[in-house]
Symmetry: C2
Subunit: 355 residues, 2 copies
Amino acid sequence: MAKVHNYSAGPCILPQEVIKEAADAVLNFDGLDLSLLEISHRSSNFVSVVEEATFLVKELLEVPEGYSVCFMQGGASLGFLISAFNMIGDHKKSAYINTGTWSDKAIKEAHFVGDVEVVASSKESNFNHIPKGFDIPTDVDYLHYTSNNTIFGTQFKEIPSTSVPLVCDMSSDIFSKKVDISKFDLIYAGAQKNMGPAGATLYIVKDEVFKRNRIKIPTMLNIETHVKKESMFNTPPVFSIYVSMLNLRHLKSIGGVEAQQKINEEKASLLYAEIDRNPLFKGVAATEDRSTMNVTFVLTDESKQAKFDELWKAANISGIKGHRSVGGYRASMYNALPVSSVQVLVDVMKALESA
Amino acid sequence: MAKVHNYSAGPCILPQEVIKEAADAVLNFDGLDLSLLEISHRSSNFVSVVEEATFLVKELLEVPEGYSVCFMQGGASLGFLISAFNMIGDHKKSAYINTGTWSDKAIKEAHFVGDVEVVASSKESNFNHIPKGFDIPTDVDYLHYTSNNTIFGTQFKEIPSTSVPLVCDMSSDIFSKKVDISKFDLIYAGAQKNMGPAGATLYIVKDEVFKRNRIKIPTMLNIETHVKKESMFNTPPVFSIYVSMLNLRHLKSIGGVEAQQKINEEKASLLYAEIDRNPLFKGVAATEDRSTMNVTFVLTDESKQAKFDELWKAANISGIKGHRSVGGYRASMYNALPVSSVQVLVDVMKALESA
């Protein structure tokens, strides 16, 4: 059991077994008497790591034939530009759904490669819900959305229905629940939530993308460069990929994404039930769009803040201060957070009533 | 003393103390009862790490006033594009010295942002020397060169003299010797030789660069983005920056770059002396351009190869097989390689004579 109940919004909690194995590999990797940090990325030992990580992504997410997986650098923030560069085509125009800070930043980068139409936005209500019932033009090269909004605590419960190629920034909920990959042309995700430590970025791409008319793309921003070289065009972020591989192995060992999804739903039910039951708390996000990953909530009585902060700190809870754009509290419950840690938070919320 | 004599060309050997401290932080960072891998990059504990790493770079390299230091991602391979994007200006033209594979790749990316003039090249002699005595046009926005050529084993012994802004890919010899930073407008370097593990890239930039007429640069490729946010615009490669900080602390503890330079010169003298003395071996690079970091050499009698390979493997030497573009052998002697490991290789070379 975790000594600290780690609700960090990311980089976030990882399984203890994974952390221990990672530390062991830093000291001596694969029995080579060398650290993982000081071996060639082209050594057969590390090539096997990348192959296994790639295979595990495909297996755990049931990636269909005709799709490729690779690891790159730069986080989703560089992914905003990379996705636009790789997806823009003959229309020279893209469509974006704006559901928060990260969508906003993606839209900004898309302007570097073409016209952008924001087809829906919840900006006017401080992104407290997922827009619904909007039209998506057909004269665009792709539609982009952010599946889970870490800051505001909202999450798409359904994949947007569209006839144009679909692109998704899945940084904060990939590997947390089943997803039909075949609906997407491109998925990208920074590692540092449910995949591994910061420094690697996952790309899942439909191979058809590379066959379209595309603009001239700088080598390192072209996903095809990295797919063709199996994530080894240049020196990859060795440690981050290795620990991601360990973490995906761990996910497989507990029953894969489906088993993890049940745990995540249990955690979310537990915490949202307390938020709805306890008159001292109120959820921030629209009920139907509530994220299972990031739970945003506020106190109904601000005078209780000092007491609440004292209680959760005493319970060894870490990282639940809300983002400055929302205020209040944010409990990030990524895959590795145990149900028992959520129970501790719920107990603290109950204790505040009688305090 | 190293159990394995690790001559890996990169990622490469790091000091044992640094590796041990890195493993400790993976288990429990800063006494927080949390792994370095699962804490927020915006926690005060990690912000201190980035500040110390930045400070150590400035201190160890004697970075003058008017320069900024930041850490980014993507390696030098993305640096090829980033440097071009940030440096191209009114001339819409740049000058490059082509001294090998990495220069070649830098030239390719520079074509994305403007015209490129290759002012000198040693390509016709398989990059076995550093070109000299060439003219540098003045109607270019910058001159770019690669200070050390890992594959071919050549190194600039002097900084090219020019009136135009100077840009250098210093990936494989930064922190190995004293450098007059004031001669440069921009220096970039992948971490995985003398700075730390793969995943972080160092940029040292003259602040004047940001005041010039520049083209519109995507957010993540604009060095100013990362300088302004002190390497924290987005989630940085936490682990790689942390271990780099530990390694720079270590470098300071042994006397800094000047002390390290003496050790590197001692190692280079020892190995090159044996190459020149022993009739069974021949150096690949022109004598006056020999790299202190990567020593390329071949056997004069190919029939001795099996025996030599047997001898160095038996001596627990790792990573001296030459790159396919050069053949023979390459002994990479980055900062952390001890003199004693070089002595073991020299002893093996001597043993071959009497074998």
